[in-house]
C-alpha cells in the first residue's frame, strides 16, 4: 500500500504536484466545474478542492482557468504504424495528451514473436506512456499463405496472458470464429474464464446472425464499424463500439453522428485510431485531433473526453486504474483549452509532467535494442533481376493475366484482366495499361520464397520501390517497372536491415532505414516525418499519385483483405484463400 499517497489524500502530507485553478472535466458524472487535482507519486490523491494538499515542496501548476481532463487512452492502436520505435512513439503521443494505450504489437510479433514484443515492452518502461498488452490472437493471419518468423499459438498466448500488463487477446477475426479455428477458440475460452481479460474483436463487415455468433463466443469490442448501421448494431448488441478515427481509416463522422442522433447511452463507445502515421501525428496530433473532430460532429466536451478516457478503460475493465480524475487513479492529467479550439496545453503522465504549455519537458534516450529486434532481414537465396520474372508457357507471345488494382483512396484490391506481351518467355509489364511487376521476397532466411504478380493502380512510370513493411508477414514487398531496379531495391532494403526505398535506373532516389524488426526507426517523429516527405516525393516523381504509397503497398500483402494479395507464397485469391497463377491463358 502506498502510504504516502494515503497521507497526501488524507491531508497529512503535502502533494508532489497540485494543478489548480482549472475546470475539471469529470468523466464519471459528465459535469464540468471549477477545481484542481493533487498528485502523490504516480497517483491522483484528490480532485476538486485540493488546496489542502499544497505544502512544502509541492509543485503548483496554474491551469489558468483552462480545462483539466484525464489523460487520453487509445483502446486500439498499432504503434508500429508510425514506423517509430516505441520511445519516440511515446514522445509523439504523450505530447498530444495520450497517456495510455492498449496494443498488441502485432507487427513486432510477426517478425520477432513474443520475445520481440516483450523486448519492446521493456523499452517502453523507460517512458511515461502506460501500455496494456493485448496479446495477438494469431500470427501470422494466414499461416498457409505467408511466411513469418514470429508465431502465436495457444501455448504462447497462454504464457503471454500471464503477464501483469496483459488485458486479453486482440484482433479476434469474426470469420475465424465461425470457421472454428481450434487455437483461436481455445484461446477465447481461456480469456472468457479469466477475470479481467477480454476478447478484442476485428469484426469487419459482420452483421445479423453472424455477428450474434461471434459475440456469443465472447468477443466484447470491435473497431471495424464503417457507418451508422454497423455502429448502432454493435452498441445495441452489447459490443463496445470503438469508433476508429486514425490515419488509415476515418469512421468518426459517420459513426459518432449516428450514435448521437439516436441519443444512445455512450458509456460503451470510445474513439480509437488503430493506425497513426507519423506525418499525421506530427501535423494533426493523436486523440486530441479526434476530440476536436468529435466536437465538430456534435459531441459536447465531456462526452468527447469520456470517449477517449473512461470508456476506453471500461472496455478493458481498467476503469478503476485509469481513465478518470479520481483518487487512486494513475496521475494522467491534461490541461486543455475548451470546445472552441480544443488543444492540449500541458500533460502529466504517471505523476510526471511531460508537456508544459506546449513545451516537451522529457526526451527519452535511444533504446539499446535487444538482439531479437535487430538483424531481422536475411535472404536464403541471392535476389537478382531474374528472381522477379514471371515466365509464360513455352512458345507463348501474348498472355491474358489477372491484374490486381488498388483503389486510389484505400488499399482494397479489385481484379482486372489484361493482355500482356511475352518477350524471351518473360511476361512483360505494360505502363500504358498501368500494369506493374509486384513481388514479395521472404526475408527471414526460412525458405527463400518469392511470390510474383501484376499490380495496377499505382501508375508508376519508372523505377521500383521496396519495403520491409508488409502485413501480415513483413517480408520485402517490391513493385516496379523493371526487374533490375526491383533487385537493387530489395537488396538495398536487406542491406539496411529493413526499410523503405525508391530506386530508378539503379540509383537510390530516397530511402529510410527501419533497423528495428525491419519496421521501425529510432528517429524522432519530426525527423521521420521529414524523411517520409522526401521518400513520398520521390515516388510521386516516379509518377504515382497515391498519397502514401508504402502504406498502400503494405496492405497489398494482406491475404485477408479482398480481393487479391501478394505474399511470399504467391499471388493470392483472397476470396478462395488459394494461391493462383496470374497467367490466365495463352492468347498467341
Amino acid at each position: 500500500m502506498d502510504l504516502k499517497l494515503l497521507a497526501v489524500a488524507g491531508g497529512q502530507a503535502p502533494a508532489d504536484i497540485v494543478v489548480k485553478n482549472g475546470k475539471i472535466v469529470n468523466v464519471y458524472t459528465k459535469e464540468i466545474y471549477e477545481g484542481g487535482v493533487a498528485v502523490a507519486g504516480d497517483k491522483i490523491a484528490a480532485v476538486g478542492d485540493v488546496d489542502y494538499c499544497i505544502g512544502e515542496g509541492t509543485k503548483v501548476i496554474d491551469a489558468n482557468g483552462n480545462y483539466i481532463t484525464p489523460g487520453f487512452i487509445d483502446g486500439h492502436i498499432h504503434p508500429e504504424s508510425s514506423s517509430l520505435s516505441i520511445r519516440p512513439f511515446a514522445e509523439l503521443v504523450l505530447k498530444h495528451g495520450t497517456t495510455a494505450i492498449m496494443t498488441d504489437f502485432h507487427e513486432i510479433g510477426v517478425v520477432s514473436g513474443l520475445e520481440g514484443i516483450e523486448a519492446v515492452l521493456d523499452e517502453a518502461k523507460e517512458t511515461d506512456l502506460k501500455i496494456y498488452f493485448v496479446v495477438p490472437s494469431h500470427v501470422p493471419f494466414s499461416p498457409a499463405l505467408e511466411t513469418s518468423a514470429g508465431q502465436f499459438n495457444y501455448d504462447i498466448i497462454k504464457k503471454a496472458l500471464e503477464r501483469e500488463d496483459a488485458v486479453g487477446i486482440s484482433e479476434v477475426v469474426g470469420p475465424y470464429i465461425l470457421a472454428q479455428f481450434p487455437d483461436l477458440l481455445t484461446s477465447m475460452d481461456l480469456v472468457n474464464k479469466t477475470p479481467g481479460m477480454t476478447n478484442q474483436g476485428h469484426l469487419a463487415d459482420m452483421k445479423g446472425p453472424a455477428m450474434n455468433a461471434v459475440l456469443a463466443a465472447g468477443v466484447t469490442t470491435d473497431h471495424e464499424s464503417l457507418g451508422p448501421e454497423d455502429a448502432l448494431e454493435r452498441v445495441r448488441k452489447g459490443c463496445h463500439l470503438m469508433i476508429r478515427e486514425g490515419s488509415a481509416a476515418r469512421n468518426l463522422e459517420a459513426c459518432l453522428k449516428a450514435v448521437l442522433e439516436a441519443k444512445l447511452d455512450t458509456s460503451r463507445v470510445s474513439i480509437v485510431t488503430d493506425d497513426l502515421h507519423t506525418c499525421d501525428g506530427v501535423n494533426n496530433g493523436h486523440l486530441d485531433d479526434a476530440v476536436r473532430r468529435a466536437i465538430s460532429y456534435g459531441a459536447d466536451l465531456a462526452t468527447a473526453i469520456q470517449m477517449v478516457s473512461l470508456n476506453a478503460a471500461r472496455a478493458f475493465h481498467k476503469d478503476d486504474e485509469i481513465g478518470g480524475l479520481a483518487p487512486g487513479r494513475r496521475a494522467d492529467i491534461n490541461i486543455t483549452t475548451g470546445e472552441e479550439d480544443f488543444k492540449v496545453l500541458s500533460v502529466i503522465a504517471g505523476g510526471r509532467q511531460i508537456l508544459d504549455n506546449g513545451n516537451m519537458l522529457v526526451s527519452y534516450a535511444k533504446a539499446d535494442h535487444k538482439p531479437c529486434l535487430l538483424n531481422t532481414t536475411t535472404l536464403k537465396n541471392p535476389v537478382t533481376a531474374d528472381s522477379f520474372k514471371i515466365m509464360a508457357p513455352e512458345g507463348a507471345k501474348k498472355v491474358k493475366v489477372q491484374v490486381m488494382d488498388t483503389l486510389p483512396w484505400i488499399p482494397i484490391t479489385t481484379g482486372r484482366e489484361a493482355e500482356l506481351n511475352v518477350v524471351d518467355g518473360v511476361v512483360q509489364c505494360d505502363l500504358e495499361q498501368d500494369v506493374l511487376y509486384i513481388a514479395q521476397v521472404e526475408r527471414y532466411g526460412i525458405n527463400g520464397n518469392v511470390g510474383k504478380a501484376f499490380m495496377g493502380g499505382f501508375q508508376m512510370k519508372a523505377g521500383a520501390i521496396a519495403s520491409s513493411v508488409g502485413h501480415d508477414n513483413h517480408n520485402v514487398i517490391v513493385m516496379g517497372t523493371n526487374f533490375e531496379d526491383m533487385a537493387v531495391a530489395v537488396n538495398k532494403v536487406i542491406e539496411m536491415n529493413g526499410g523503405q526505398i525508391a530506386v530508378k535506373d539503379g540509383e537510390v532516389l530516397a530511402s529510410i532505414a527501419y533497423p528495428v524488426c525491419g519496421l521501425l526507426t529510432d528517429l524522432s517523429a519530426e525527423e521521420l516525418a521529414a524523411e517520409k516527405v522526401k521518400l513520398n516525393d520521390a515516388i510521386h516523381g516516379l509518377g504515382s499519385p497515391i498519397t502514401i504509397p508504402f502504406m498502400f503497398l503494405s496492405f497489398i500483402c494482406l491475404a485477408a483483405l479482398p480481393c487479391f494479395a501478394i505474399t511470399d507464397v504467391g499471388f493470392i485469391n483472397v476470396i478462395t484463400q488459394q494461391v493462383m497463377d496470374p497467367i490466365l491463358e495463352v492468347l498467341e
Copy 2:
C-alpha cells in the same frame, strides 16, 4: 467453446427458448424497442429480431407486448438477513426477477469460516441464482472485543480469492484503512494487483480528505450513502455509488433524486438492498420493488433497469458476463409490466424458466447441509439465572449505571445514565425507567464469556427474548426483565441449535429454530414470514413497540456501531473501543 450456442446465434440450429413479441429494454443504449430474445443452453444467443432462431423443439414464450429486461443483479446483499437458507432464499429473490447477487456470506463466515461459506456456495449450485463471492475482508469486525468461531485473515482471503466465483473483498471499512490494519492493507494490495478483483467499500460517514484517502487505497464502491451530499461526492470521486434500498435502510429517495436532479451520468450508479428481510421480500419483493420506487422518484424505466442490472455488473467488471440482453450473456431475462405499475411477470435464469406469469415453476430440494453448518451452538459452561447478574460493589444499595438506548426507528444506540437499586448485591432492572437486562453468551464452546449491560428503548414489560443472530459474532444475545426467563430463553436457543425465542414466566411464547449456523432455516419464505409474524406479535405482547425487535437486537451486538454495544466480552464503548463497567458509581 459452446458450439451449440454459436450455431443457434448463427442461425444453423434452433434455440431452446425464444421470447418474442416484447419490448426490449436495452440497458446498453437505454432504448426501448420491439423485439425478442433467443436462448441456447444457459446463454443468450440473439436479441432483437430472433424469429430466425425458432425451429423444432424451440419453446416459444409470448411476451404479449410486455417489456423484456435483463435479470436483476443485487450488487450488495447479505442473504443471511432473510434468515432463509440459500435455496429458499434463491426461490424468494428469483420469483422477483433477481437472477444474480454479489455477496460475502459474512454471517456464515463468522460462524463457520470459509469452509461454511464454501458449503453454502455448493448448496447454491443446485439453484438457478448466480452468485458471485465477495470475500469477507475481516471476520470478526472487532477481534479484541468479541468471540467468533470463523475468522478471515490475509491467508484465508488469498485462498478464497483464487475461487472461480470470487470477485473481490467486501465491506472494506474506511476507518480501518486509515488505521492501517495490516491484514486489510495486504489484502487490498492483492486485490489491487489482481485483474477483475475489486475492493468493495463500507464507507459510512466518510467525506472529504478521509474519503479521498480510502479511495486512493483502492476502494471502488460504497453502499453507505445516506443522502444527497454522500451520493454526489461518491460519484464525482469515481466511486461507484450503490444506493441502498433494503429492508433495514432506505436511501433511494434521497440519493436517487440527488443524482437525477444533478443530471449526473448514471452509468456508475446501482441500487442494492444490503439486507432483505423475509417478510419484506414476501410482501413487497426485492429489486422489483426498488425499480418501482426508483420510477416513482423520477427515473425512467430504462435507467431504473440499468441500475439493477448492467451497472451492478460493471461495478464488478462482470458486464461481459451478465447484466444485459446481448449474445453471450447469461440467459437472465425478465418479462415485466411497464412504468405505470412495474411488476415481474416471468423470469428466466441461466436459460431456465423460473416464473411463468407469476407462477413459480421450480422448487429446490432442502439441502443436505454439511456438518460445518450444523450444531454450531455449544456452551462452555451451563447458563443459569446467576449468569446474567451484574453485581454491585459490596454494601451498595443504589448505583448510577450507563444505559444504552436504541433509537426507535434504527438500531443505533445512545447513552443514558440511570439510578438503579441493588438487592442482595445485584443491580436491579427498572421497567418504569425502561431499563432492562441485556447479555451476550459466547456460543461456540470457546471461552464461556457472558457480557452484561443495561438496555433501554425496547420497553418490554415482562419475560425475555433471545437470539443466536447478533452481528458481528452471532453469540446468543438475550434481553429480559428477569434472570430466570433469560436463562430459559438462552438454553432453549441452544437446544434448538440456534434460533429466536420469546419467553415469559418460564414458558416459550413463540420461537423459530435456525439450525443452519444458528442463523438460517430451511422453511420457505412464506412459512418463515408467518412464523416471524407470530414471534414478533409475542414480543409486542410483552410490551415492546419496536416493529422488528430481533433485527434491532442483532445490531446492538455490533461493536462497530455507535455509541454502545454488548458482546460476549462485555459492555462496549464503541467510540473508545473499550470494554467498560456499566456501573458508573455507587450512590448509596
